[in-house]
């Protein structure tokens, strides 16, 4: 089935937030901190500027509580006078004006006075806690997994018995989502209600945040998602901040106000993937079987807690990898720094720890002299095995299928040495990874969320799917239409997936965590099936609606206190092969070929699924080789598309995507999550391949040409 939203998007008919206008709308602009850490002493207005034509808002204008409600309420919408400034580009004041130009001029004429304090930019300095940014130790959150041992002493005793211990520390860099549409939001107050429309993944996150901030009840805040040009996690939590800004401005201006970020502002001020340092020890016996895995991961959370604990949780839960191991210790910490808050990004903590464990497995293969893919095959988890949290894998484990799929197409490895068209010497190499990704919310999250979705036959005789799951380019509208059409037994043209507006759709949970098809699609399927049964006895001309609420599959239980049990309802499984060529004149590594075999349970729309995998793969390859956020004194120094590099199609290799289907019995038609998994593995595959080409280890990303040049002394 072709994408329902496709034609409107490629012909320019789709109306993004910037295309929407309310009568008399004004434009907002944001006054931001230029200081990474300090105290806001005053906000001065340039007396030479004509302030009569604009509206200025500060923290004093926030009608309710000045915080962005999320996990903790530590992040203000606007820094209040007398309160701390925690990062560069933090919002201090807002202006609105009839034109963008005037708003920008006014923003420049607002002069915050900040008394500087010592700032913290590294996780080492944060952990040293000489400067206290959060609590007494700067640790936002810590998690601990223990499997097969009671104490650290027990654990070390197992390590001591090992025949080999592979040890390394791995660094993964911050990454910009670079959605094609920048953050954009518009607010208007009508009859005491605040209506907010904008580019977002999670309307109910914004709804939750606006209630205390605006001092309104649930009915008086209406959040609507506009057509959204990509999110990748970047529009998971940040839109609440922007919604707060337009809502406060609209209230003070007494008219609709919109803000569409300039690209540079978007890169500078919004969330990035958490940079992470992961120390990993892998202890094996004489036969090369894994005895123990020890992981210590530290992520830089940035200035506020935001979603960091959840990102860390996913990182920790994936850190031991999809390998059999009786004894596992994983410690994860996310710490406060004076960087802008890091946040959600496709993969959500898992790519960071996946990079570490797949570099470790590669080193083990080299150490043992064993074929890297065969070693992975030998050690991999299969049905009946238990994960690091003791979750017994009862179903939908595609290990053998994904590895076999890659083996079938791998072919001989590339010839190691060669010469390029300019006479430059070349080195080639191959890398493999095997990895998994937990689908749906972490731990008990899905049960706590209790997401709901409705399918209705309306009075007009058409059918509506009502959910708060947003289409952010990933194909949710099309997939829900397909699922509902099949379950109802009606033609897809009779089905409308309505635009998510909090006054019209139930809370299906956020559009994150590879859960939209698997979890919410499952609710849509169940609701549609029940509706189909009800319809024959329902009176014609009346609306008939069925709402379903999430119930965990039998036997799925997670204990948050001990971090044991079923961390995810199920996992996706993947195997990836990457061939690279390194140009020894320019030190550029180029991916020639990337094969991804991914177990998605069931591909409801294979074209969309392949698109998801190819996009996620390219994002991962970019992260591995090109993408680099340069922070200088806490400020993004390359906050523009010229210097904040993401891959173009010219950088994309030949992508071979193999869909493997090992059904998940509780997903719609057997489908499970696919959105994030392709992001997790390829970076390590690239590092493994570059290592293979040059004969030395690359334990950090991005593997920029500058990094390869500096490694020359280590090449074999």
């Amino acid at each position: 089935m072709p994408r329902i939203d496709g034609v409107a998007k490629v012909t320019g008919r789709a109306r993004y937030l910037d295309d929407l206008d309310a009568p008399g709308v004004w434009y907002g602009a944001t006054v931001r901190s230029t200081v990474a850490h300090g105290v806001l002493e005053a906000i001065d207005l340039d007396p030479g500027f004509d302030w009569s034509r604009v509206v200025v808002a500060t923290a004093a204008d926030v009608p309710g509580q000045n915080y962005i409600a999320l996990i903790e309420n530590d992040q203000p919408a606007l820094v209040a006078v007398g309160k701390p400034v925690m990062h560069v580009d933090e919002a201090i004041a807002l202006v609105a004006a009839p034109t963008k130009e005037l708003a920008m001029a006014a923003a420049k004429a607002v002069r915050p006075r900040v008394r500087g304090l010592p700032a913290v930019f590294s996780v080492e300095d944060s952990l040293a806690a000489n400067e206290k940014l959060y609590g007494t130790d700067n640790v936002f959150k810590q998690f601990m997994i223990r499997k097969g041992h009671a104490s650290d002493a027990d654990f070390e005793a197992v390590i001591a018995k090992a025949a080999h211990v592979i040890e390394g520390t791995y660094y993964t860099s911050p990454q910009e989502q670079m959605y094609i549409e920048p953050q954009a939001m518009m607010a208007e107050w009508r009859d005491g209600r605040c209506h907010i429309v904008g580019s977002m993944q999670c309307p109910y996150y914004v709804h939750k945040a606006m209630k205390p901030l605006l001092g309104l009840g649930a009915e008086d805040v209406v959040i609507t998602q506009s057509v959204t040009g990509g999110g990748f996690g970047g529009k998971e939590e940040y839109p609440s901040m922007l919604a707060a800004h337009v809502a406060v401005l609209a209230k003070k201006a007494g008219r609709a106000v919109k803000i569409v970020y300039d690209r540079d502002e978007d890169i500078a001020a919004t969330t990035k993937r958490h940079p992470a340092y992961t120390r990993h020890r892998l202890a094996v016996d004489q036969r090369g079987d894994v005895l123990a895995i020890d992981v210590d991961c530290v992520m830089d959370g940035g200035a506020y807690l935001t979603l960091s604990p959840v990102v860390l949780s996913r990182g920790v839960l994936h850190a031991a990898g999809p390998y059999r191991c009786p004894v596992v210790r994983v410690r994860g910490r996310v710490v406060a720094t004076n960087h802008p808050p890091h946040g959600a990004f496709r993969g959500f903590g898992a790519p960071q720890t996946t990079f570490a464990y797949e570099r470790q497995i590669e080193k083990l293969a080299i150490h043992l002299g064993e074929d890297p893919l065969q070693l992975r095959k030998r050690l991999a988890l299969r049905k009946g095995d238990t994960t690091a949290t003791g979750q017994e894998l009862g179903f939908s484990v595609g290990t053998d299928e994904v590895i076999a799929a890659v083996e079938r197409v791998a072919g001989p490895p590339p010839v190691r040495e060669g010469t390029g068209p300019n006479g430059e010497p070349l080195r080639r190499g191959r890398g493999y990874v095997f990895y998994f990704h937990g689908a749906g919310f972490t731990g008990s999250g899905e049960s706590r969320l209790a997401g709901r979705a409705t399918v209705a036959r309306t009075t007009s005789g058409r059918y509506e799917v009502r959910s708060s799951s947003t289409d952010i380019g990933q194909g949710a509208i099309t997939i829900f239409t397909q699922i509902a059409s099949q379950a109802l037994g009606v033609d897809a043209s009779l089905i409308d997936v309505i635009d998510p507006t909090t006054s019209l759709v139930p809370d299906s949970g956020p559009t994150v965590a590879s859960r939209t098809c698997m979890v919410v699609g499952g609710l849509v399927e169940r609701a549609a099936k029940e509706l189909r049964e009800k319809l024959p006895s329902a009176p014609a001309g009346e609306e008939v609606a069925v709402t379903m609420q999430y119930e965990p599959p039998p036997g799925i239980h997670f204990d948050d206190a001990t971090y044991t049990g079923a961390a995810y309802p199920c996992f996706g499984w993947a195997c990836c092969l990457v061939d690279v060529t390194v140009d020894l004149d320019t030190y550029e590594a180029r991916v020639d070929r990337c094969v991804q075999a991914i177990d998605v349970g069931k591909a409801i729309n294979p074209v969309i699924v392949k698109g998801q995998i190819e996009g996620g793969t390219l994002q991962a390859l970019g992260w591995a080789l090109l993408e680099n956020i340069v922070y200088r004194e806490g400020k993004v120094a390359n906050a523009n598309m010229t210097n904040c590099i993401v891959p173009t199609f010219a950088d994309a290799p030949d992508l071979e995507t193999i869909l493997v289907e090992v059904p998940y019995p509780f997903g719609p038609s057997g489908a499970k999550g696919v959105g994030e998994i392709p992001m997790d593995g390829p970076a390590a595959a690239v590092a493994n391949a570059v290592g293979d080409a040059l004969g030395c280890a690359f334990d950090g990303i991005p593997i920029l040409p500058e990094v390869i040049a500096a490694s020359r002394a280590r090449w074999s």
């Binding site: 300039d262 540079d264 300019n422 006479g423 430059e424 020894l584 004149d585 320019t586 030190y587 550029e588 180029r590 090109l626 340069v630 120094a637 390359n638 010229t642 210097n643 590099i645 891959p647 173009t648 199609f649 010219a650 950088d651 040409p705 500058e706 040049a709 500096a710």
Partner: protein, 276 residues
């Protein structure tokens, strides 16, 4: 934008306007102007030369003449350029994306005089001549190698416009080459780029011009390399002589795109490769 704006119908009108408004920004293709729109102060006025007929087109007689208003798309598809000025076509293809190549012009690249201007090392390697004009003094020609005087500074007088560039084609025994090393494979800004024009007698270098971009405040010729390789046969020895001569000839910098060390290493490799 609220800048004053003039779009002259002829070169004479354009020169008069430039004389009257020497502080106005010249719009050749607009690709720099648009990038600067959100970052730099609004210009006092805009003098729009886009598609001014007297500045457009490529002609090949005994020299190649490229009008300053010729777009890179026109340059890269011109038969004579493809046949005899390969490095210029290659450089043109690396300028931004197709949309930028369809708007960006030779005059814009030369006038902006960015140290990372993609065509500029090629103009140096081919020892191009620039034709400039003013209402008061008429036309004059200067060697391009004398044109750039500092970071985005040139010999162009306040009342002058760039009219054209003239390039002599290489003789049959000439190796011409160009390579750009950017931040990615398309639409990228150079970290290092190099162009060479190497005249040969058999395999022996009789005269060489070597130019680099992105390693100094302006595109530069590397006289030390040119001298070091003259009289040597192409091959390992010439390559090493070029590498050694370059080592002390440039002082690249660290910036958000790369490092001084990397730029130096790669510049050496590129230059050595030109002569190997």
């Amino acid at each position: 934008m609220s800048s004053a704006y003039i779009r002259p119908r002829s070169l004479a009108e354009a020169l008069d306007a430039k004389a009257q408004h020497p502080d106005w920004m010249v719009l050749a293709g607009g690709t720099d102007l648009m990038v600067n729109a959100t970052h730099r102060p609004e210009p006092a006025g805009i003098l729009d030369l886009w598609r001014l007929p007297e500045l457009r087109g490529v002609t090949m007689t005994d020299v190649l003449t490229i009008g300053a208003g010729t777009t890179w798309l026109e340059v890269e598809h011109h038969a004579a350029v493809l046949e005899r000025f390969g490095p210029l076509a290659a450089a043109a293809r690396e300028i931004g994306a197709l949309q930028i190549q369809a708007r960006g012009t030779l005059g814009g690249n030369v006038g902006t005089s960015s140290p990372v201007g993609d065509s500029l090392p090629v103009l140096l390697a081919f020892d191009a001549e620039l034709e400039l004009a003013s209402a008061a003094r008429g036309r004059r020609r200067i060697p391009y190698r004398e044109f750039c005087t500092g970071y985005r500074k040139t010999q162009l007088a306040a009342d002058e416009l760039i009219v054209a560039a003239h390039l002599r084609p290489p003789a049959t025994r000439t190796r011409t080459t160009w390579r750009k090393v950017g931040t990615r494979r398309a639409q990228s800004i150079s970290k290092v780029m190099g162009a060479a024009f190497i005249e040969l007698d058999g395999d022996v270098v009789t005269r060489a011009r070597v130019a680099l971009g992105a390693v100094a405040d302006r595109p530069i010729r590397i006289a030390a390399v040119e001298q070091a390789v003259t009289g040597l046969a192409l091959g390992a020895k010439a390559a090493e002589a070029a590498r050694a001569a370059l080592r002390s000839a440039i002082k690249p910098i660290d910036d958000v795109r790369s490092t001084a060390t990397y730029r130096r290493d790669v510049a050496e490799n590129l230059v050595a490769r030109f002569f190997s």
